[in-house]
Amino acid sequence: MATGDLALGQLEGATSVRERVINDFSINVATVNGSGSQSANSVLLKSIFGMGVPVSGKNLFPSNIAGLPTWYTIRASKDGYVARKRASEVLVALNADTAREDALALPSGGVAIYEEKLDLKQYREDVVFYPVPLDKITAEICPEAKLRKLVRNMVYVGAVAQLLRIDLSVVESGLRKQFAKKVKVFELNFGAVKAGFDYAAENLPKQDQYFIERADQTKGKIIIDGNAAAGMGAVFAGVTVVAWYPITPSTSVVEATTDLLKKFRVTPEGKATFAVVQAEDELAAIGMVLGAGWAGARSMTATSGPGISLMAEFAGLGYYAEIPGVIFDVQRTGPSTGMPTRTSQADLLSVAFLSHGDTKHVVLLPGSVKECFELAYAAFDLAERLQTPVFVLSDLDLGMNNWMSEVFEYPTTPLDRGKVLTAEDLDRLGGFARYRDVDGDAIGWRTLPGTRHPKAAYFTRGSGHNDAAGYTEKPDEYIEVMERLSRKFENARKLVPGPVTVKDGTSKIGVLAYGSTDFAMRESLDQIKKEYGRSVDYMRIRAYPFAHEIHDFVATHERVYVVEQDRDAQLASLLKLDLPADQVVKLRSILHYNGLPLDARTITEEFATKEGL
């Protein structure tokens, strides 16, 4: 008791000299998976959001169903930074197995809110301790043993809210929204929140420096994860056939798509205007996607690294036979099974060149949840316009974590169904050659099975074919098709989403990055400016093949850092294949690939070292 009092006394003194930290810190909730803490954490996240404070949430979970450690970090940032931070100032410790390690990871002056029994005070003297008898409170308010696990989670939400000064009314309205129609469930949950809140108010005087204060920075914003956003994008692209095989972290793309399809794509007669098939494996999934794309449907699948590997042979067929389809790859770490629940960008090269022979693919690279939505529907248009499989490369961090975003805008252009001839067209034309470049855009016209015209049919094959889709082994006929495919890919540079640039026009140094790297990248640019007085130009790449602006960007800078989340500098390698030889030497890499989402500090430190700052 005496030591505890002493520690508190010291800290109280410390707090009085320290400034309050408002809306700018991270909370780390340490639990075990399978304990149902996910929804409690999401309530906490949404409560901070409800306070008007920019926020992001990250779930660091194991590839396991129950019993292993899980951490959920919530970052509140008045400056709007949403990338991971290396350290969290506030710990909510609920897992006995990691409690010591978690407490030791706190920065000096940090906060530990924890289940009383864990007795964290033994590990540190320089942090503020808030023990909460979660089990005891839970037992008192919840007689039903079965429900205690979930109720206990809400008790800590209440205590945390009180200690950080989150308004109870905001938590309440968030819960009400979540359990819209289930009044009983709401009451049970809110009762638990209130019990935790009241306990903290009565027993735990505020001694730390971290506060959430009402702000006005989240008005009109939404919170969503990238996979849900991608699923939404697919539905607003009018997807009709979905074939998939479950794999983390892509599963929730299909789950989100399916939920929306069931809600919005059933006719008044109760008939479905879509088909979702859980295939026997990823080979079958992409086979179905191509079969459906060939027969005129907008089709998609979602997978991750191991599934991508299985799809290789079909990807080449789609490229060579020129069949549309959309493939979402939500990347996780490899090689092989790797760390299935950790994030990565290491599929870029294998996706860009997926399959044997001279195969290359259009790859879209969303860098925010909003772009997961937008590039998802763009992918369907591009696939049908270019008559080729289009890959959308997301990752676990972007796909499975919660991000704040501007609201998504309804597509402004109608669906682009590409070049398809009808029976009437054939009457007029008297026939067609499937792979002939009649318009000079390197894209042939196709017909769909079922078109009632004696000249409508053509023979689709992955074997050598001429421009009339006839079998060939003739060198020039083979080359003619291959060169047209090359021209088509070249033209795609102009059709794919262009890069996004942040620059002031004076810097000699540039940075290239894509995807979820963007969050940390933008924060790092601010750090570099603030701490080293350097301004750096930044271009975010949004697709492969690379738009011409990317070449220009490299050409107009002395040094260009390529920041990416893989070991082998895959983006830099892909750029090197594309750039003129004298430009290649300008590229240098900043790499991060430990499975954790990238943080700004990692980039800033690496940049400073490389620049000799």
Partner: protein, 345 residues
């Protein structure tokens, strides 16, 4: 004196048989696969199927090439080795109003494609799935396939020491709703089975023994013309009466199993094996297993179920092809997105 060519015979949709032909075959002369292509042409012609309403699907192999040699007026998709089932599944989901005909080989289906074959049968999609079964990989020059019978001999003298997979028994067990075996050399039986297949709603799986004259037609092969002629053991005599045919065939009652098909046509199976009931699944599988033990090659229609819902029924799809639904149906309205956004704020 002027001569006029006699008018060609037309089927009931007004097309001559010529309109059901394809490109010139590049398969070996005498290859069983060619005879099957001929029977497909006859069956489609006689059934009056509109060629533009057919999708020809295949994998890779000599057999899988054959869609190029019949029905040039139908769209074709020659996919990758062993994966025709998934491509067909996708195509059918996009347009379930088509007649879908899949051509595979014994290597294509029973080895590399076994995974997809199994799941295709299970789903009971509306399609006709034909295995042109020669017991070898023709296109890669005659290695044994997984349907080669135990003890069958290659030209080189190599003896197959694994039992063959009976794709018919498998298909029945897995959920296909019309399963039979025929022989490329039995014109009449194969034609009747194909016509009934066209009338069926659900997955038809036909294993058609189709001798490879180049690699597996010698003494010691159990998939040769000679062996089939000697050992073909029909379980029933297949007779198909299309809904538009005005023929009355009378068999003495008790001898004929009569099946009323979806389109109103009749499949009559004259019992050659006593008491054989083609709707009894367990008995069908047992009969096939026994025949394998007795080194018999049973042909005929082994199993039929006209009631089981297809995958399209289970998915509760709209009548129009999914691939041709207009944007007004497939892209939800702006208000829907606005509502979703509001719920996330």
């Amino acid at each position: 004196m002027a001569t006029t060519a006699p008018a060609p015979k037309l089927n009931h949709i007004g097309l001559p048989v010529l309109e059901y032909r394809g490109g010139k075959t590049t398969l070996c002369a005498g290859c069983g696969h060619n005879a099957i292509s001929e029977r497909i042409i006859d069956a489609m012609y006689q059934m009056g199927v509109e060629p533009e309403r057919v999708m020809k699907m295949s994998g890779i192999g000599c057999s899988s090439k054959s869609p190029a040699y019949f029905m040039a007026r139908a769209h074709a998709f020659n996919s990758v080795h062993g994966r025709m089932p998934s491509v067909s599944t996708g195509a059918i989901l996009a347009n379930h109003t088509m007649t879908t005909l899949g051509i595979s080989g014994d290597g294509d289906s029973a080895s590399i494609g076994m995974g997809q074959f199994v799941h295709m049968m299970r789903r009971n999609l509306p399609m006709i799935y034909i295995i042109e079964d020669n017991g070898v990989y023709g296109l890669t020059k005659g290695q044994f396939s997984a349907t080669a019978d135990l003890g069958s001999k290659l030209k080189t003298g190599v003896v197959n020491d694994l039992a063959g997979i009976d794709t018919c028994a498998l298909a029945i067990q897995l959920g296909a709703t019309f399963v039979g075996r025929s022989f490329s050399g039995d014109k009449k039986q194969l034609l009747q089975m194909l016509k009934a297949a066209i009338a069926h709603k659900g997955t038809v799986m036909l294993d058609v023994i189709s001798p490879c004259v180049t690699f597996n037609d010698h003494e010691g092969s159990t998939k040769s013309y000679k062996f089939m002629q000697d050992n073909d053991e029909p379980i029933n005599e297949v007779d198909f009466v299309a809904s538009f045919d005005d023929i009355e065939v009378d068999y003495g009652s008790g001898e004929v199993y009569e099946v009323e098909m979806h389109d109103g046509s009749n499949l009559r199976l004259r019992k050659l094996q006593e008491g054989y009931d083609p709707t009894d699944k367990a008995n069908a599988v047992r009969t096939l297993m026994e025949s394998q033990q007795n080194d018999e090659i049973l042909t005929g229609v082994f199993y039929i179920d006209t009631q089981k819902p297809t995958f399209i029924d289970l998915l509760n799809l709209v009548d129009e092809p999914l691939g041709q639904l207009p944007e007004s149906v497939t892209r939800p309205a702006k208000a829907t997105l606005d509502g979703l956004m509001a719920s996330l704020q």
